[in-house]
Amino acid sequence: MNISEILFWFLSALAIGSALMMISSKNPVYSVLWLIIVFFAISGHYILLNAQFLAIVNIIVYAGAIMVLFLFVIMLMNLNAETEPRKNRWLKWAGTIAGGSLLLVLVAALRQVEQSGADKAVGEGNAGLIQNLGMVLFKDYVLPFEISSILFLSAMVGAVVIGKKGD
């Protein structure tokens, strides 16, 4: 077991454990903090797969911007554990069983195709480096890149219009 396998198992356990803590913690602020740990673990997976640009973008965009936005909204609303709505116990168990069954069915369905066993995701290849991704992005995918700026503009206008104090 070399160092990348140890890192793989460590990051996987970190991601799944933090995700479980995220959905089970009462305080929404703790949920946000656990979700940030999940995002860091996923960024570690990207680095192991030699997708360094996506790892950095994941940290900057998700852990840096989106989660801070969530924290701002939670602190703006002053939510804490007492304002957590009352949950039906049986509904919680039903949801857990449904999610576990979904995982079971998907894994069982994919067991049949795992027979080859030769397909490995390796941390080789230069596709994840910022130079190659930039060349592909600005040569072949420049039109979707520009359209996404229009998407951002419309999202910005929509957020301002929705968040404006109505009368």
């Binding site: 909204v73 576990g100 592909v136 968040g163």
Partner: protein
Amino acid sequence: MPIHYYIVLALALFSIGVTGVLTRRNAIIIFMCVELMLNAVNLLLVAFSKMHAAKLAAFDMAGNVGAEAQIFVFFIMVVAAAEVSVGLAIIVMMYRNIHSVDVNFLNRLKH
């Protein structure tokens, strides 16, 4: 690592997200679970983009096999960022109207 480890990991994260959406009633946490599901899919896409990298890198001199998949992940992140801004604005408006973020109060379409 074999590709099915990544498949199982991404499926586990996705299922945890589905479980969170089904069990929690706080709208913000439901929204965060949706983000978790998006990230599980992103992780699987990156793993698939690296699946044939070792075999195909010998033929492609530029060495950017699988760059399209990572561009795809990049655009998923772009759309998720736009979605979060609009969704949080909707949650803030909902909190302003009904003074709660419990999704069970949003049942006016039922009656």
